[in-house]
Symmetry: C2
Subunit: 307 residues, 2 copies
């Protein structure tokens, strides 16, 4: 059961050699969520062999060009490939004018519906819910309306210890009750407790996406304990003033957040084109939070099933 | 003195591995004309080491996404790189709504002016004129309003044969007149003819760009004799019906045009993603017009100075 992040683009504002603008695919149990859609997203999807037709949900964190200019080509190509399934785009209110422009000029001949779900709220809000996955959006601190995203595998049903079924001659009704976490009171006075008869088949996994944002206090609570945190690191600490003025984070900011929020693993991206040596980001972050990695276009960060 | 075409993107509607959407740079004596601007144009400019800040003139042949979606990122990045020089975009009337949308949402902070020159006309029209270069647009046959472009090096001034200057003791006034192609009548009755005293330092070079279009009769006259013809070849002849229905050309169509128009050299591009083996295009075209080449992303087609 997949739970991974693929980084399609790791540049900030301007694309540079080998680094495209922001675009990320979260594969949550086989369901693909495209998060941000910078110019060339469809090219990167092709390159890394991810079918655009498997994407039904697209999240746009904010309306800066390097996070959204790829949507034109992606939607057009989906039409050319014969897509009929509707697509859901979770984006700030301002996305509406882009969509209106696109629909008026470039959607003729395409056979699928585009739904814009308007992001809002001053704290985490559930924006997607299925049997096995939920997704929340939460506001970031980037000067314009911007959102981060939290992906949560749902709590699975309890499993029955197989050897107990025969030993106790459990009925289907009793198994059902125990799996729902209820205790069973038998007529003979015995109590079969869910705690004794069942176990959690796996612990749900979580991942968060924070780009673009300057640090702010509440964020740590909203992403506390996630297994994987993708966080922007546009600048190094020596450019901290520029970074905060522009509502961005340094590698040090991202690492401090990861430590404070007690996350398991940190992935950095969205590096400014001014830096040639990205290892400096890794060094700076690992000083504060050792379990940190740099993203490169096409890298896959897998979160294994937690048994 | 440069005269070349660099192909940045050679795919048709959908980008595929190693082939971006349409974008081309004509370098005419050091002046760069970007012709079409598919998604990822700025990425290809970076990759092939062409400075986007050296581009002052952009031609958009028509308003299909694969020829124009790169304009958003390109204009944005020009702003981020601190461009102040105005830019001139030669495009059909409908480009105005794209530009309006772009200016309203993504041009804040940029310090340069964007001028839209509306393409029009049922025959070749001069759209650019400088000391050494002129550019014409002409209508193509693509279902929607679409234009091709003709680049012409201007006729240079005549040069005087150096050995004649001393032999005949030519005055500056006489040299000036001869260089303008005028004959000189001396007081002693001698006539110095421009024909005898001067020569053309080089023959002006020409190049034409035709994408996207189905064949039509007048086109051969409009591009007659060019040194370099870039022409679309979306399909092979076996798909001729589909090709014409969609207002495109086959490799055979392009080659027939090149032969009929007596061009010197043909470059094919805009290949449909359905074909894996592009050599088939070359074979088909060379049967009709041998001096033909296939474009690949990043290839440079140079037209040497004609002495």
């Amino acid at each position: 059961m997949d739970f991974s992040l693929t980084t399609l683009g790791t540049a900030s504002a301007k694309p540079v050699d080998n680094r495209f603008s922001s675009a990320h695919v979260f594969n949550i149990r086989g369901r693909l969520f495209l998060v941000d859609c910078g110019e060339g997203t469809q090219i990167q999807l092709n390159r890394f062999r991810i079918s655009m037709l498997k994407i039904d949900n697209i999240m746009i964190s904010h309306m800066h060009g390097d996070h959204v200019f790829g949507i034109f080509g992606l939607l057009s190509s989906m039409g050319l490939y014969g897509r009929t399934a509707p697509i859901y785009i979770y984006a700030p209110r301002d996305f509406a004018s882009l969509l209106k422009f696109y629909l008026a000029h470039f959607h003729q001949g395409s056979q699928f519906e585009i739904n814009h779900i308007v992001l809002k709220g001053n704290e985490p809000v559930q924006i997607f819910d299925s049997k096995s996955v939920e997704v929340y959006s939460f506001p970031l601190n980037h000067g314009i309306e911007t959102y981060g995203f939290l992906f949560k595998e749902k709590m699975p049903m309890l499993n029955i210890h197989k050897y107990k079924i025969e030993t106790y001659g459990l009925t289907l009704a009793e198994i059902g009750a125990l799996k729902r976490g209820e205790n069973v009171n038998r007529k003979d006075g015995t109590v079969l407790t869910a705690e004794e008869f069942t176990y959690l088949p796996y612990t749900p996994r979580t991942a968060a996406y924070c780009s673009d944002t300057a640090p702010f206090e509440k964020l740590a609570d909203w992403i506390r304990g996630v297994d994987l945190l993708y966080h922007e690191a546009t600048y190094l600490i020596e450019e901290k003033d520029v970074s905060w003025q522009r509502y961005h984070s340094t590698a040090n900011d991202a690492a401090k957040l990861a430590a404070e929020a007690d996350v398991k693993r940190l992935v950095l991206g969205h590096f400014s084109s001014r830096y040639k040596d990205l290892q400096l980001f890794l060094k700076e972050a690992r000083n504060v939070f050792p379990n940190c990695e740099l993203s490169q276009d096409g890298m896959v960060f897998d979160v294994p099933m937690k048994l």
